[in-house]
Amino acid sequence: MNWGVLSMAELSLAQSFALIALNAQRSLSMTTAKKVALRCTAAAVILDVYLNHGFTETDNQLSVHPNTWDAMQPKGYLSTILKPITRRNNEVSGELFWWLKKASTLSKRKLVKFERTMANDLKARYLLEEIPNLLGCDLLFYSSGVEIKEYRSNAYEYSRITEGIRADFLEEGPLSDENICMLWLFRESGCMHDFFSGNELEKVSIRMEECHRHTPLGKKLFSIQIHHDIEMAIKYFLNFKKSFVKTQGGSGLNFVYPILERSQSVFIDTEKMLPNARERLHDVLARLEEQGHKYTVLHEGVISIIKIDNIIYEAVPHAIIGRIPIHGVRLLPRRPL
């Protein structure tokens, strides 16, 4: 029985990790979180080559196997990482640590090129798309013509990869090399907490320790660190800020001080001063439509409830005071999410 199998994609380690890492990242700008994600995806490319015997190993020194250049033709993203490191010179060699470090410290320009190639590759396979970010509807962003878009991974493939990894880590039994690499990439990109609960993390850390001690790949990999402490600190702080405004108290504070977490408190201005509920809703829907969002109005009233891109928001009447008061609504995610 092949039920549920036909539409499945066979992805490389780097492609699988990219699908996880790029999901919900801004596509048009380079944020710190995206930089962390791209550095680790670049390292995943090196691990991909390593696992597929694309390196020749002599005394722990790895150099690109001559056949690798031909083999990488169909996978354009491989060359966007390997070429800048080697400049197509097969003599270039170093330990695994050296290759991972080189890949993860590529310049911003090269990272952007790599991102585009990888994203286009995944888009061509219908596994990644760019959707407008709701923040683009906010008065300040909309009126200054700032376009904000984000990546969205194919939900089916995303859950298949992440749930598969969870099952492999949390169940008894040996881990595959891909899983060991994925575990290391999760650690280096600081996204362990996104996939495992506190209790599960204890089990995962035991598994990681086992890998470190008993598997040759784990021994090599888990002693390597490529993350940048400052970037990770910024990422953790932003995550903390986001989770703070997801609480009732935080949400209330965000209403008064939207600067706390802008993406969770979008203000849409209305055409008229003191509009009635119907006009308010009309203006909000017009802005959402203009920015390309999918929405459904669940409840019409003083506080309308709208489902936008799979998240339910309350449209609360609000006014901001600048030189003149501007009336409109603030879109706040409904609790619990």
């Binding site: 039920w3 199998v5 066979e10 749930e163 598969g164 099952a167 492999d168 949390l170 169940e171 891909e178």
Partner: protein
């Protein structure tokens, strides 16, 4: 080095792990673990610390059946009863 099995290999094998079942059926790991602990998905295990192995064809069919029963509004005890009767 032990590599992850390709889909082709998984589909040619009689037995699969829970991780592979997750990939095959697009189910959540916690859901399949719960069904296993409730005795709804039979498995084989050589020793306590070794991987649980599920018969691929039968287990995928079972998961499909459980999903259908769930969409009909059946509770877990009712589903267990129905699976036992069969």
């Amino acid at each position: 080095m032990s590599r992850q099995r390709s889909m082709e290999t998984i589909l040619a094998d009689e037995f699969v792990s829970i991780g592979e079942l997750v990939r095959l059926t697009d189910s959540r790991y916690s859901t399949l673990k719960y069904y296993t602990e409730e005795g709804m998905l039979p498995f084989e295990q050589a020793e306590e610390n070794l991987t649980r192995r599920y018969r691929r064809v039968e287990t995928v069919a079972l998961i499909l059946r459980i999903r259908t029963m769930k969409s009909q509004g059946m509770s877990v005890p009712q589903m267990k009863e129905a699976l036992l009767q069969r």
